[in-house]
């Protein structure tokens, strides 16, 4: 049984839902979407950030002068993602073989093929992965437990005061209607390419090959193999220094503790609880209750 067998007749088909068996997938055929972030073309102008805030009607955190001082007057709009800030341009500087270099990275939900949040979520249907690869929350089914952030290898979901999670939804309302996501639409330098995931990976390899020709021998494609690939793909000029790119994890993967917790422990737990109920029932009908009378006879 699945809580939902497929998407509705109109709109997006559903590929996967939290705490639910796989929905039926052969009704509709929808392509996986992707965005390629070509970091070598990014100037750090934050047009994407503004477009994201504008499209999602966000009420973003505005730093006070004190907070700015604390953060060393960083170029960054905020120190971290927040429930009211779905994407953030991160700025770091580090030494490379080409000297002191800016590492400017767009950070948001990656839309994993195998999402850790969805695996960790205990509430049926609170996290949905559509057939086009977009991962989104259904707040009406969320019980507010916070496990989605714990299960996320990229540490993305952020919570409001009611413990409900928020993050990038790949502009589901736009892409579902044939529009480009707000961030990619706004990017003035073509650092953000939008298309099918397969096309973005192919384009990414071309960008990386071009970078290698232009004197970036360590250029690499960041494709999140550990989570089965992701909607977001990054072309990194300095592929040997992943950690400087806005704290991107080196080898993102769902923790083995999540698999232990959601796999073997569920089977052992179910067997232990049902097994003890069955064993007690068996005792009742075979050995029978320990009555005072029975003991009296034996003495």
């Amino acid at each position: 049984m699945s809580y939902l067998t497929s998407g509705s007749t109109t709109g997006l088909a559903i590929r996967r839902m939290s705490a639910t068996k796989e929905p039926v997938l052969d009704i509709k055929d929808q392509e996986q979407l992707g965005i390629l972030v070509d970091i070598s073309s990014c100037t750090g102008c934050k047009a994407c950030e503004v477009a994201c805030i504008q499209w999602h009607d966000l009420n973003p955190p505005i730093a006070t002068e004190e907070e700015l001082r604390e953060n060393g007057f960083s170029y960054q709009s905020a120190p971290d993602l927040a429930a009211n800030l779905f994407m953030l341009m991160k700025y770091q500087e580090a030494e490379t073989d080409r000297g002191w270099t800016w590492f400017i990275t767009k950070r948001q939900c990656m839309h994993c093929d195998d999402p850790g949040c969805l695996t960790a979520c205990p509430s049926p249907g609170a996290i949905v992965q559509y057939a086009n690869g977009v991962v989104d929350f259904d707040q009406s089914k969320c019980i507010g437990c916070g496990m989605c952030r714990t299960g996320c290898p990229f540490d993305i979901p952020r919570y409001d005061a009611n413990d409900h999670p928020f993050k990038c939804n790949f502009c589901l309302d736009r892409v579902g209607n044939g529009l480009v996501p707000a961030c990619a639409k706004a990017c003035p330098t073509n650092a953000l390419h939008f298309g099918t995931r397969a096309d973005m990976v192919e384009l990414g390899h071309k960008v990386v090959a071009g970078l290698k020709d232009r004197g970036f021998p360590n250029a690499a494609l960041y494709d999140s193999a550990g989570v089965g690939g992701a909607g977001y793909v990054y072309a990194l000029p300095h592929g040997d220094k992943v950690e400087h790119y806005g704290d991107l994890p080196k080898d993102p993967a769902i923790s083995s503790l999540v698999h232990l917790w959601k796999g073997p422990l569920k089977w052992i737990g179910g067997a232990a609880i049902l097994g003890s109920i069955a064993a007690m029932f068996m005792h009742l009908v075979t050995a029978g209750p320990k009555t005072v009378e029975a003991h009296g006879k034996e003495e």
Partner: protein, 218 residues
């Protein structure tokens, strides 16, 4: 002799038992609703998913407070002796209702002592510590992460989740046995929870050594 009653639980013991029992049942059932998608409907019965997830940790805290009091008042009768080891080795005689082949028990038999140590003693501590970690992941990670170098902040919370679940499996399976023995499995036991008293026959049949101690004292 038929009407002779022996006091087994003081009013304090009974109050503490009621506190642990009520809070444990809520934490147990809501925990099952959270842990098993097929049992998600339990959360609806317990007040709704969001409500049950809100109340679960509070019920857990109540359990731990009463559990602490229970440890203080019960622990003196819970230490194992050599008879308990013989009892554990021959536990199959207990299951088949042939207690005469086992050493006579004092106030609590070895099974009850194990239940005390696992569900009450370790349950009170481990549910609370791991539960707090899942409840306040950021605060927990900030406190604990510096002590365990090499473990990511999120991994610590996941580890706590796994520990919580293992504790739940051990305590939960034992709890079912406990409920059975307190009701259907051993008639005359449940009323002791309300009145604190058992019949002399009950005491003689199930805890003979304790019975003689009580008679000697009287």
């Amino acid at each position: 002799m038929a009407n002779v009653m022996i006091t087994r639980l003081t009013a304090f013991d009974r109050l503490v038992h009621l506190g642990t029992a009520a809070s444990f049942v809520y934490a147990f059932l809501s925990g099952i609703g959270i842990a098993f998608p097929k049992m998600h409907w339990l959360l609806t019965v317990l007040g709704g998913g969001e409500f049950a997830r809100w109340l679960h940790p509070w019920a857990g805290v109540v359990f731990s407070v009463f559990g602490f009091l229970m440890i203080l008042s019960y622990v003196k009768d819970m230490f194992f002796d050599t008879d308990d080891i013989k009892w554990m080795v021959g536990i199959v005689h207990y299951m088949t209702n042939h207690e005469e082949k086992l050493p006579e028990t004092r106030k609590y038999n070895a099974g009850q002592k194990m239940y005390f140590w696992i569900t009450v003693f370790w349950g009170t501590i481990i549910f609370l510590v791991s539960g707090l970690a899942m409840w306040f992941p950021d605060a927990f990670a900030a406190q604990v992460a510096p002590w365990v170098p090499g473990m990511g902040v999120r991994d610590l919370v996941l580890l706590a989740t796994v520990v919580h679940e293992v504790m739940f499996i051990a305590a939960g399976a034992f709890f079912i046995v406990h409920i059975y023995m307190g009701t259907l499995g051993m008639p005359g036991t449940l009323s002791a929870l309300a009145t604190g008293k058992v019949t002399a026959e009950w005491a003689k049949a199930h805890h003979p050594k304790w019975y003689r101690e009580m008679v000697r004292k009287a």
